[in-house]
Symmetry: C2
Subunit: 361 residues, 2 copies
C-alpha cells in the first residue's frame, strides 16, 4: 500500500517558468488523486513521473484561478489518444460554482471526452461567503443542461455532528473535508487510510505446522484455523497489532485552519500554505493567507508528525537558486516554521518533489 | 513604425514542456496585440522579451481550448502589481460565446482587475455552426450581469458588401476578419497598415533654403510652403512616393481559408496552420485542419510574400532536436509547403521565434 505525494506546482498566485501554480497528486497503489489544478498543471504533469491516465479523482480546494484554471485543459488532454470510451468516470469535488465553471468552459470550447465526469459540490456555510457578497453575487448554479459526458453530481451538505463533509469512503480509505478561512469558500481535505489488519506471525504459524496458503487468508479474515495436530489457532494469537492507517491532510488557502482540527488531528503529514514570511503577517491576513509561524502553530495544535509548506510567493527563490542582495530562498520559510515551536519535521515542497508517506509499522 | 510577430506557442491541440499551445503577439511600435491565448500563454510570455503590460488588444480566432484556456489566467496576472487602476481598457475580440466563457470564469473564480475589459463578439454565419449543433446547442449568450470591470461590448455583424467584419480602425491601422472553415466558428484576422506618406526629400528642401523644422511638418501634412526666396513648394514635388502599408494575416484553425481571400490578398506575411503532413490529409480534413500543401496553395492563391507555418502536431520534433527512427522534425512541413508550387518564402514558427515585418521601401 504505497502512498506518496507529488507537488506539481507550489507557487501562490501566478505561475512562472520556474514554478507552477497549485497542484498536488496523492498516489495510492498507482491510483492518482489530484488536489487543485492551476493553469499549466497538465504541463507540469508531463514533467513528472505520473501518468494523467491514472487520475481518477480531482479535489478542488477553492475556485481562485491559481487552483482552477488548468482543469478544463487537463480533462481535454486526458481525453486525447485512442477514441474508444475506455476510461473510467472522473470524479471531481469542490466548492459551489465548480460545476458551472467547468460546464461553461467545456460547452463554449465545445470539448467532449471519451470518459464521463461528475462534479460533486461541497455546500459551504453562509459565514464563508465573500465579504463583498452583497455587492457582487453572481449566479453560481449551473443551468439544467448537462454536458454530454457529465453525470448528475451530488450537492454534499455538511455533517452537523462531525462538522465536516464526508466525500468518499471505500474499504481502505476515507476522504473528509472541513472549511478553511480564506477570501472565498475554501476547503481542506483529509485522506484517512483505515486501520489495517496486523502482520501475520509467519514463524508462529510455521512452528505449528501451518505453511503459507489458504489458511493464512482464512485466519487473516478473522477466523479460527486448525493445525495438522488438531490445535485451534485464533486470529488474536497469530496476528500482530493492527496497523493504524495513515492520515494525509492537504489544505487550500487559509488564514485560519482551526476548523480542520477535528478531522485533521494526528496527521502523518500536513500540507499547509505559507505564502509570505512572518514579517508580512498583516499582508497575509488581509489576503487570507498564512505565514510559516501560523502554519507551524496549526501543525503543533493538531500534533501533526510532519509539516510540508507550499503555495509560496514567487519572490522566494528555489533552494538551489543563487540569490542577490535582499533576495531570499524558500529556506527562510522552513526556518521560520521550525523556530515557531513546532517540534515535528518541517519540509518545503518544491515543484516535482515527491514525498513518500511511510506506514507506521 | 516597427512591426514584429512573436510566436509564444506553436503547438496544436495540447501543450508540452517543449512546445506551448497557440498564442501569437503582433507588436507595433511597442503596443502588443495577442492572437489566441491557449493554456500556459502567460508563462510563455514570461519567457519572451515582451511585457504583458503592453498588451492592449486580444483577438481569439475560435473557442477551442488550445486557443482559449489561458485567457482568464493571463488577465488575472496582468492585474498583479500596483493596486491603482492605472491601466487602459483591454479590448478582446472573438466568436460568439467568448463573453460568456470569460465572464463565468472570472465570476466563479471571483477575479477582479485594476483595469476594465470589454468583449466584442463577431457574429458568425449560420453555415459555420458545428455539424452537430442540433444535438447539442448550449446557450452561448452571457446573462444580464456584467463582471465589475467589464464594459458593454459590441456584437459585430458581418459587412455584407465586403463579406468581412471590420473590427478596429485608427489613423494608422485597420483590422478586419473573415471566416475560416473549421469544426466550430473560426476567424482569420487581417492587420492592414494604412498607406503612409512618402519620405520627405530633405536634400531638395535644403537646396531651396528650407531646413528641418515646422515647415517640414506642414508640407508633410499636405500643405504648400514658401521658401525664404518666395518660392512656393508643393507636397507633390517635395515628398517621395507613398509607402504601401504592410498586411499581416493571422489565421485560426482551418481546412478551407478561401473566404479570407478578399481581405487577405497580397499579404506580406500569411500565418497559416499546418497541423499534419500531407500524407495525413484525410485526418486533417476530418478534424478541420490543413496540411502544408493546403497552406501553400492558399498562400499562392492570395499572392502572399511569405508563409509562416504554425499550430503543428506535437509529433513533429523541433528543428534542433535529435530524431529517432520514424520521427520527423517540423522541417518536413516546410519542405512539403515549398514543394507545393508556392514561390514565396516559407518559414516554420517555433516557440519564442520573432519575425520582423519589413517595410516595403
Ligand atoms: Zn492560492
Ligand atoms: Zn486563494
Ligand atoms: Zn487548434
Ligand atoms: Zn480548433
Amino acid at each position: 500500500a504505497i502512498m506518496d505525494l507529488t507537488f506539481l506546482g507550489t507557487a501562490s498566485c501566478f505561475p512562472t517558468p520556474k514554478r507552477g501554480v497549485s497542484s498536488t497528486v496523492f498516489r495510492h497503489d498507482g491510483e492518482c488523486w489530484m488536489f487543485d489544478c492551476g493553469e499549466g498543471t497538465q504541463i507540469q504533469l508531463m514533467k513528472s513521473k505520473l501518468k494523467a491516465s491514472h487520475i481518477t479523482k480531482i479535489f478542488i480546494t477553492h475556485l481562485h484561478g491559481d487552483h482552477l484554471f488548468g482543469l478544463p485543459g487537463l480533462l481535454c488532454t486526458m481525453s486525447q489518444g485512442t477514441a474508444e470510451a475506455k476510461k473510467n468516470k472522473i470524479e471531481i469535488y469542490g466548492p459551489w460554482g465548480l460545476r458551472k465553471y467547468l460546464r461553461v468552459a467545456l460547452e463554449m470550447s465545445r470539448s467532449t471526452f471519451n470518459f464521463s465526469y461528475v462534479v460533486h459540490e461541497l455546500i459551504h456555510s453562509p459565514v464563508d461567503l465573500p465579504s463583498d457578497w452583497t455587492e457582487w453575487h453572481p449566479n453560481h448554479e449551473a443551468d439544467d443542461h448537462h454536458h454530454p459526458q457529465e453525470e448528475e453530481g451530488r450537492n454534499i451538505e455538511m455533517d452537523v455532528d462531525e462538522e465536516c463533509w464526508l466525500l468518499f469512503e471505500d474499504k481502505r480509505i476515507k476522504v473528509k473535508a472541513a472549511p478553511l478561512t480564506h477570501r472565498i469558500p475554501c476547503f481542506g481535505y483529509v485522506i484517512k487510510e483505515k486501520t489495517q489488519v496486523g502482520k501475520l506471525k509467519a514463524g508462529y504459524l510455521k512452528e505449528r505446522g501451518i505453511p503459507p496458503g489458504p489458511l493464512y487468508a482464512k485466519i487473516k479474515d478473522g477466523n479460527n484455523i486448525v493445525s495438522p495436530t488438531g490445535q485451534v489457532i485464533t486470529p488474536a494469537e497469530a496476528i500482530g497489532p493492527s496497523i493504524p492507517g495513515r492520515k494525509i491532510v492537504i489544505l487550500g488557502d487559509t488564514k485560519d485552519s482551526s476548523r480542520m482540527s477535528r478531522i485533521a488531528h494526528d496527521a502523518d503529514i500536513l500540507v499547509h500554505e505559507a505564502t509570505l514570511n512572518n514579517e508580512h503577517v498583516e499582508k497575509c491576513l488581509e489576503a487570507g493567507h498564512s505565514t510559516p509561524a501560523m502554519a507551524a502553530n496549526f501543525a503543533a495544535s493538531i500534533n501533526a508528525k510532519s509539516l510540508v509548506l507550499f503555495h509560496v510567493s514567487q519572490r522566494f527563490k528555489a533552494l538551489n537558486e543563487p540569490t542577490e542582495e535582499g533576495e531570499e530562498t524558500v529556506e527562510l520559510l522552513v526556518q521560520q516554521a521550525s523556530e515557531a515551536g513546532y517540534t515535528g519535521q518541517v519540509v518545503i515542497a518544491e515543484d516535482l518533489d515527491t514525498i513518500t508517506i511511510q506506514r507506521k509499522i
